[in-house]
């Protein structure tokens, strides 16, 4: 097998070094890849169908990568378009590529990998026992499927291989695993699954593979028959055994078992070796094929509209009796809701006491160490924005005028940083589907659409 070179950026919309990217192109890579998705931001992007990266940054990143890929005549492969990788996100990216083709005068064959799941097919799969919870979530119900605005499956390498077989110059994928965009091309060119997957996993976070992440350097993986080498492409950036090995562990519960639709990557018997001051050699990677493939499903459903306010509390007497104060405040909010005719089961609220235990909740070991200042977030979820804002506005005046401590006359409990201080957060979402779908062929849940874009 001849060397296979994969050029990688981290996340569309987060930027990268232009100079480093051009230096990467000089090395004649066989593809350019960039992930665009994550579930780290929670269910909002999937539920709302909206990208949350700034459009100008997304367009800039795609334009530079598109220009480089078309100039070299190599595939550009983007994974999990628009953060969540559902139909509206993919459509947004398709429009950008159409515009790039028109502006640049460079025609291309575009492959779209659609990850959206048909509710009827999913119900049938679930009824047939082919859907399993992924972690401590309830079994998938038809009601959960119906309540979801979008449900996507995470593609592995197989749909990418099919898109490349169809002659795609640019692949825009809906939801997929981060390394799949590289592993498919590498295996198609002859790399072993173990080397293809582990190399892909080592570059799929782009600049995070380097020691100086702020340099924004793209990274390149060079694969051969016995392993792979990772290096940054920008002068002055470095990959080290630590930076590369750390990526193998990152965001995975178990470094010996990094799950993909077709099997699992293991780094248990890996060797990492510093080749020179900037590149790292990896060998001994393993890949264990699954008995039958399974893809992860993600779905999000709307749960109402949210409104919130953040207020500062500095009165040490109130802070000392905060739990009692919040009890009384909560009672007042429920009373207000009744007076506004807002049904009890149609809204929820919570208080987060920043400075005390907002971040860690019941796990906070320092909960009883009194702070001198509290940032109190009052968060209200109601069935529509009008209810949420009405309840919040009333809570704002009620909470400010409540006795700070029983028996002490009310003064004004809240330091407000904004005017007005009540913020409509918008529609809120929850994960409704977080499951595994067993399939006969891992390409089955995905639809590949090929279109020839003329300049």
């Amino acid at each position: 097998m001849n060397d296979i070179r994969l050029l990688a950026n981290g996340l569309v919309g987060n930027g990268f070094s232009y100079r480093g990217f051009q230096a990467g192109l000089d090395r004649r890579p066989h593809m350019i890849g960039c992930d665009a998705g994550t579930s780290d931001y929670g269910p909002g992007p999937l539920g709302s169908g909206r990208d949350i990266k700034p459009p100008a940054s997304v367009e800039r990143d795609l334009e530079i990568m598109f220009e480089g890929a078309r100039r070299l005549g190599i595939p550009l492969i983007i994974g999990s378009c628009g953060v969540a990788g559902a139909a509206p996100h993919l459509e947004g990216y398709r429009r950008i590529v159409e515009r790039l083709v028109a502006d640049s005068g460079r025609p291309c064959r575009l492959a779209l990998i659609h990850s959206d799941q048909d509710p009827a097919l999913l119900k049938a799969a679930s009824a047939a026992g082919r859907v399993r919870p992924l972690g401590p979530v309830p079994p998938l119900t038809d009601a959960a499927i119906d309540a979801s605005t979008h449900i996507v499956a995470m593609a592995g390498a197989a749909p990418f291989i099919r898109a490349l077989d169809a002659g795609a110059d640019v692949i825009l994928a809906g939801r997929c695993t981060d390394p799949a965009i590289y592993a498919g091309l590498a295996m198609r060119m002859g790399a072993s699954p173990a080397i293809a997957w582990h190399a892909a996993r080592s570059i799929d976070k782009g600049m995070l593979a380097t020691e100086n992440v702020e340099e924004g350097s793209p990274v390149m993986a060079t694969l051969d028959d016995t392993g792979f080498t990772i290096e940054p492409t920008k002068d002055g950036a470095r990959c080290t055994v630590k930076s590369i090995a750390a990526l193998t562990m990152y965001e995975n519960p178990d470094p010996w078992s990094i799950l993909q639709p077709s099997g699992r990557i293991s780094a248990e018997h890996c060797r990492f070796e510093q080749l020179d001051e900037r590149s790292v050699r990896v060998s001994g990677s393993e890949f264990f094929a699954a008995g039958r493939p399974s893809v992860k499903l993600e779905g999000a459903r709307p749960v109402g509209h949210r409104a919130a306010m953040l207020v500062g509390i500095r009165d040490p007497r109130l802070i000392a009796e905060l739990d009692d104060y919040l009890d009384r405040f909560g009672t007042m909010i429920r009373r207000t809701a009744r007076s506004l005719g807002i049904a009890e089961d149609s809204y929820r609220f919570r208080f987060l006491a920043y400075g005390r235990d907002a971040v860690m909740g019941l796990r906070e070991p320092l909960r009883d160490s009194p702070p001198h200042e509290i940032g109190l977030l009052v968060d209200i979820l109601a069935s529509d924005e009008a209810d949420a804002m009405a309840l919040l506005a009333r809570a704002s005046s009620t909470g400010a005028k409540l006795a700070p401590v029983r028996g002490i006359p009310a003064g004004g409990n809240f330091a407000a940083p904004f005017s007005p201080n009540q913020i409509p957060i918008g529609p809120a979402f929850e994960w409704s589907v977080w499951h595994l779908l067993d399939c006969a062929d891992e390409s089955d849940p995905f639809r590949i659409e090929i279109m020839d874009l003329q300049a």
């Binding site: 579930s39 992924l134 965001e251 929820r348 796990r363 994960w431």
Partner: protein
């Protein structure tokens, strides 16, 4: 007194899926890694005490190539619900900074 953060300043934590939290603890050098490992201070029992989770639910992986330990524990609640305060699980590692390493 040596704290874990003195030996591994690059400690970070993230969700590993919506059900798990995982802490990556890269040590500054091999001696620190081996010292921490040999001390037994970072045990499932100790981590379980800090986060109030059963010892059996705590997994600790020594990952020698990265000179790192990896700890995986269940999240307090499945990620992304109404009560979520750390969608990405980014700040739950703080208490382990202070674990004393003999």
């Amino acid at each position: 007194m040596t704290r874990l953060a003195d030996l591994a300043p690059g400690i970070k934590g993230r969700n590993a899926g919506a059900a798990w939290l995982t802490f990556d603890i890269p040590f500054s050098d091999r001696a620190s890694y081996e010292r921490a490992l040999a001390s037994g201070a970072i045990s499932p029992r100790r981590i379980g005490e800090i986060y109030a989770v059963p010892e059996a639910d705590v997994r600790v992986f020594p990952f020698a190539p990265a000179l790192a330990l990896k700890i995986t524990i269940p999240r307090a609640a499945f990620a992304g619900g109404f009560d979520e305060s750390d969608f990405d699980g980014a700040q739950q590692f703080a208490p382990i900074l202070d674990i004393e390493i003999p």
